[in-house]
C-alpha cells in the first residue's frame, strides 16, 4: 500500500490481530486445558488461564499414556510418528529425484507415457486407492510394521513433478559442460544436480514431513498392534473410549505434543524453505 494514514494502519493491524486471535485461541485453550486436573474440564466451564498441573499431566501422557485406550505412552507414539514421517519424507524425495532425473535427462522409449502416467496419479488421493493398497500390504505381511506404515505412501507424483519442473530450468549447457568435463550421468547427478536442488529438497522435506506426520487414515487401517500406533491416530483413540469419561487433560497434552515436531521442523528449516519456494539458485 502506498497510502499511509493512521486510520488504515489501525484497521490493518486490527484485522491482523483478529486473525491471529482466531487462529491461536483453540491452541491456547488446548494448552490451558492440558495443565488442569480432569475435574476442571468436566465441569463444563473451560478455564482460560493455565493451571498448576503442567508437569504432572505431561509426564503422565509421555510416560504411561491412557489406560482406557490401551495405555500406549505418548512417547512411543511420537517415536512411531517420527519414524513414519521421516521415512515418507526422505523416501519420497529420493524416489522422485531419481524419477525426475530419468524423465528429464534420458531419452528412452515411452518416456512421455511414463511422465503422464505419473502425472495422472496426481489426481488420485490416497483414500481412493486405500482398500486395494491395504489388500496388497496385508498379503505382503506388512501390517503392523514401519515398512507398512511408510512404503505405500512413498511414491509421489507431486514431488516428481516439482523436481521435473526444476530440472527443466537448469540450463542444458550445464549438462553439456559436465559431459565435456567427463562426468558420467551419476556423477553429474551427484555433483551438479543434487547440490543445485538443495533448496528445493529442503522445501519439499518440510511439506512432506508434515504430510507424513499428519497421516491419519492409513495408520488407523494397518496398525492393530498398539506399539505401532502413531500419535495423530492415537489422539482419536483416546477420545473414543468405551466406558469412561475421556481424559481431556491428557488428550489435550497429547495434542500439544503432536503439534510440536512439525513446528520444530518448519522453524528450523524456515530459511531454506522460503528460499526454495521463491528463488532458484542458478
Amino acid at each position: 500500500m502506498v497510502e499511509r494514514r493512521p486510520i488504515t494502519t489501525f484497521i490493518t493491524h486490527a484485522v491482523l490481530l483478529l486473525g491471529v486471535l482466531i487462529l491461536a485461541f483453540p491452541i491456547w485453550v488446548t494448552f490451558v486445558a492440558s495443565t488442569h486436573a480432569p475435574s476442571a474440564l468436566a465441569s463444563g466451564v473451560v478455564p482460560l488461564w493455565p493451571g498448576d498441573l503442567f508437569l504432572e499431566n505431561y509426564s503422565l501422557a509421555l510416560g504411561k499414556g491412557l489406560a482406557a485406550s490401551g495405555g500406549v505412552p505418548v512417547g512411543r507414539m511420537l517415536f512411531n510418528s517420527l519414524i513414519m514421517a521421516l521415512a515418507i519424507a526422505i523416501g519420497k524425495i529420493a524416489i522422485s529425484l531419481i524419477a525426475a532425473y530419468a524423465i528429464v535427462y534420458f531419452r528412452f522409449p515411452f518416456r512421455m507415457l511414463c511422465f503422464w502416467t505419473i502425472f495422472v496419479t496426481l489426481m488420485l488421493p490416497v483414500e481412493v486407492r486405500i482398500l486395494p493398497t491395504f489388500e496388497v500390504v496385508a498379503q505382503l505381511g506388512m501390517l503392523n510394521s514401519y515398512v507398512g506404515l511408510s512404503v505405500p505412501l512413498i511414491a509421489s507424483a507431486t514431488a516428481t513433478f516439482l523436481f521435473r519442473q526444476f530440472f527443466l530450468t537448469v540450463p542444458d549447457e550445464l549438462a553439456e559442460a559436465a559431459r565435456i568435463d567427463g562426468a558420467g550421468p551419476l556423477r553429474f547427478f551427484r555433483d551438479i544436480l543434487l547440490p543445485l536442488s538443495r533448496t528445493n529438497i529442503a522445501a519439499l522435506f518440510v511439506i512432506l514431513f508434515i504430510y507424513g506426520w499428519n497421516q491419519y487414515l492409513w495408520p488407523l487401517l494397518i496398525t492393530t498392534d498398539e506399539s505401532f500406533y502413531t500419535i495423530v491416530m492415537g489422539i482419536q483413540r483416546m477420545v473414543t473410549v468405551a466406558d469412561a469419561e475421556p481424559q481431556w487433560h491428557l488428550v489435550m497434552a497429547t495434542a500439544m505434543l503432536a503439534m510440536l515436531p512439525p513446528v520444530v521442523v518448519v522453524v528450523a528449516m524456515q530459511r531454506l524453505f522460503v528460499k526454495g519456494l521463491v528463488e532458484t539458485e542458478k
Partner: protein
C-alpha cells in the same frame, strides 16, 4: 595440440538437413572462426565437433583420430559456452578443477594447473568466489580457465562473447586472441558477429543455410568475396549492390539507368550485354567533382560517427523504376567531409573495388 579435419560432414534432424556437407582442414594451432547468420548451422557444426550432436554423415577427426563415435570427454577438447555454463554451486577453483578431478589428476597437480591458469587470466584473487559473485567478464574468464586447465587438443568456442557489453567484448576479444597465440592451441570459434570473426580468425568459414560459402583468410573474404551472400555479410556497413550489365561495346560497365559509365578493360570483355550484379563497399567510394563521377547519390540520411560519416541515399534514376533498385545505397566518408540530407553527391569508385556477381547464381565473376 592437433589438427582437426572435417570431411563431408552433414547433419540431419529427421527429414530436414541443416548442414550440407562441410569439408575443411584446420591446421595445428590455427584459429578458425565459423561465422554466419543465426540458424545457418554453425553452432550445430561446432557441437558435432564437440560430440554433443551426432554426426549424420561424413567424419570428423581430431589429431588424426576419427572421433565420430567418441564421447565428448574422449575427444580431448574443451568448450566455452555462450552463457559460460559455470557450475553455480562451485567456487571458481572447483569450477576449473572439476574436469581434472574427474580425470583423477593428483591434487597437487590440479592445484598447480589451476593456479597457472588463474595467473594467466588474473583470476587468482577470485578463486574462492562463487560464479554469481562475479561480473560477466570474470565469469567469461573462468569459463576460459576451465578450458585452459585441461590442456586440450582443441578449444571450441560457442559465441562466448555475445552475453557481454560492447566494451567488455572488445577487451575479451583481444584477450582470447592473445591467449590463443600464447598457447598455440587449435581453436574453432563460432560467432554471428563479423567484427569478432574478422579480428580473431586466421581463417574464416562463412556459412549460410548449412553450406560453407567461403573458407579463406579474413582479408581474402573481404577483398574477394566468393558470393553475394559473403559480400553482403562481411563488412559493415554492408556492401551496396546494383544491377547492371556489360555495355554493348564490351569494354565498359553500365549501371542500369545509365547513371554511371566507366571505361575499363574488363575481364569479361566479349560478353556484351551480360546482366550483372555489381557490388561496391561503402568505404570504396570517394566524393569527387561532378565531371569525374562514376555515379551520383541523392542523400536522404546522414549518420555522423565521429571518425566516419555514413551517408545513405539512392541513385537518382533508380528511385522509382522497379522494386529491386530502390534499396538504400550507403557511402562511408571521412568524418571531415561535411554533407547533409538532400544534397546530391558525386562519387567515384576506388580502382579495383567493384565486385561483379552473376545475378542468378550469386557467384563471383570478377573484381574490377
Amino acid at each position: 595440440m592437433a589438427e582437426i579435419a572435417l570431411a563431408g560432414v552433414k547433419k540431419r534432424y529427421g527429414e530436414t538437413q541443416v548442414v550440407h556437407g562441410i569439408d575443411v582442414e584446420i591446421a595445428d594451432g590455427e584459429f578458425v572462426v565459423i561465422v554466419g547468420p543465426s540458424g545457418c548451422g554453425k553452432s550445430t557444426l561446432l557441437r558435432m565437433v564437440a560430440g554433443l550432436e551426432e554426426i549424420s554423415e561424413g567424419s570428423i577427426s581430431i589429431a588424426g583420430r576419427v572421433v565420430n563415435d567418441l564421447e565428448p570427454k574422449e575427444r580431448d577438447i574443451a568448450m566455452v559456452f555462450q552463457n559460460y555454463a559455470l557450475y553455480p554451486h562451485m567456487s571458481v577453483f572447483d569450477n576449473m578443477a572439476y574436469g581434472l578431478k574427474i580425470a583423477g589428476t593428483p591434487k597437487a597437480e590440479i592445484e598447480e594447473r589451476v593456479g597457472r591458469a588463474a595467473r594467466m587470466l588474473e583470476l587468482e584473487a577470485l578463486l574462492t568466489r562463487k560464479p554469481r559473485q562475479l561480473s560477466g567478464g570474470q565469469r567469461q574468464r573462468v569459463a576460459m580457465g576451465r578450458a585452459i586447465v585441461r590442456d586440450p587438443a582443441a578449444f571450441l568456442f560457442d559465441e562466448p562473447l555475445s552475453n557481454l557489453d560492447a566494451k567488455l567484448r572488445v577487451q575479451m576479444r583481444l584477450e582470447i586472441k592473445q591467449l590463443q597465440k600464447d598457447l598455440g592451441t587449435t581453436s574453432l570459434y563460432v560467432t554471428h558477429d563479423q567484427v569478432e570473426a574478422m579480428t580473431l580468425a586466421d581463417r574464416l568459414i562463412v556459412m549460410n543455410a548449412g553450406v560453407a560459402e567461403q573458407i579463406a583468410s579474413p582479408m581474402q573474404v573481404y577483398e574477394h568475396p566468393e558470393s553475394v551472400f559473403v559480400a553482403g555479410f562481411i563488412g559493415s556497413p554492408a556492401m551496396n549492390f546494383l544491377p547492371g550489365r556489360v555495355a554493348q561495346d564490351g569494354g565498359s560497365l553500365e549501371i542500369r539507368g545509365g547513371t554511371a559509365r566507366r571505361a575499363e578493360a574488363l575481364a569479361i570483355s566479349g560478353q556484351a550485354g551480360r546482366e550483372l550484379l555489381i557490388g561496391v563497399r561503402p568505404e570504396h567510394l570517394q566524393p569527387v567533382p561532378e565531371t569525374e563521377a562514376d555515379l551520383f547519390l541523392d542523400l536522404r540520411l546522414v549518420e555522423t560517427l565521429g571518425a566516419d560519416t555514413l551517408a545513405h541515399g539512392s541513385l537518382p534514376d533508380t528511385k522509382s523504376t522497379d522494386g529491386a533498385t530502390k534499396d538504400i545505397f550507403t557511402v562511408r566518408l571521412p568524418g571531415s567531409v561535411q554533407v547533409s540530407a538532400g544534397e546530391r553527391l558525386a562519387l567515384r569508385v576506388a580502382p579495383g573495388a567493384l565486385h561483379l556477381f552473376d545475378p542468378d547464381s550469386g557467384h563471383r565473376i570478377a573484381d574490377l
